[in-house]
């Protein structure tokens, strides 16, 4: 077996694993029925699914003699930005009460998202000015 053949098989395997995890992420997104649990699905797609697809791309690029390290950068940017968007969606869920009310923190008064009493009452009363 030449190196070329091995690289082709490796690319195929990485693609399969990657798309498998992406499918699981999509199934999770469709299956779960509450916004907070649903949030868990995309974090999976963002890490291993995309990671494997990028690894496949890298293997293929190096095998065809045109090596590229851009994928590492995509990976790094994803890893830095994914938690931030997940955090924002979680905050929106907490703020609009579309999930269970979280327990109060053990050391401080309240969670920072909930620390806006006036705004919360406005939302509850449906009065928006």
């Amino acid at each position: 077996m030449t190196l070329d053949v091995i690289a082709t098989y490796a690319t195929a395997v990485f693609l399969l694993i990657g798309s498998g995890f992406v499918i699981v992420g999509v199934i999770g997104l469709l299956k779960f029925n509450d916004p907070m649990t649903r949030l868990h699905a995309p974090t999976k797609v963002g890490t291993i699914g995309i990671g494997m697809l990028l690894l496949a791309s890298m293997t293929h690029a190096f095998a065809s003699g045109d090596g590229s390290l851009h994928e590492l950068l995509i990976m790094a940017f994803l890893f830095v930005t994914a938690p931030i968007s997940a955090n924002f969606i979680a905050k929106v869920n907490i703020h609009s009460r579309t999930c269970e009310v979280p327990p109060s923190p053990s050391r401080d008064d309240t969670w920072s998202t909930l620390k806006s009493p006036d705004l919360d009452q406005e939302i509850k009363g449906g009065v928006q000015e």
């Binding site: 699981v24 999770g28 907070m36 974090t43 999976k44 590229s68 851009h70 950068l73 979680a90 401080d108």
Partner: protein
């Protein structure tokens, strides 16, 4: 001399990182591009230093590398576990839970890295910080024992981060 150095390079690690990212973006290592990256790496931290005046002190890059390897391994293991949960556990038997993690970390950078790690590890999402920054709110997808998850976060990640950002 030290003051001039601090004025020119307010964030030496950021300078290195920017140079590296620029070189990676070019996709080839040539002297000209590395020098240009270095120029960007000096100008950008210098120009933006008014917005983040404090240089993080006591950061240990060596331990950060071993921490990254542990986190990458955990991401792979937890991904398989969570994929299994998604495919096999029906919604009615799913036990999501909120956990409150009391924080020993005080530095904003360290808390950011911890929250990011928790979100990247499948099965847990960090949702909020308490108003004074002493606890972290984490949502778990499926667990029988929320306290065990909390202890694992504290022992596995927070203890190591405390060493990195000491």
């Amino acid at each position: 001399m030290a003051r001039a150095f601090r004025w020119l390079l307010p964030h030496p690690l950021l300078t290195l990182l920017l140079t590296l990212v620029w070189t990676l973006l070019q996709n080839e290592v040539s002297a000209g591009m590395v020098v240009f990256g270095l120029i960007l790496g000096i100008i950008i931290p210098w120009g933006t230093s008014i917005w983040w005046p404090d240089t993080p002190k006591g950061f240990r890059p060596g331990k950060m590398i071993s921490y990254s390897i542990i986190v990458l391994w955990d991401i792979i293991v937890a991904n398989v576990q969570v994929a299994w949960i998604v495919l096999t556990v029906p919604n009615s038997r799913l036990k999501p839970a909120w956990i409150v993690v009391p924080l020993d970390l005080r530095k904003p950078e360290a808390i950011t890295v911890l929250a990011g790690t928790i979100t990247l590890t499948p099965g847990t999402v960090s949702a909020d910080l308490s108003d004074e920054g002493h606890s972290l709110l984490v949502h778990v997808l499926h667990t029988d024992d929320p306290d065990a998850v909390r202890d694992e976060i504290k022992v596995r990640y927070e203890r190591r981060l405390k060493e990195i950002f000491s």
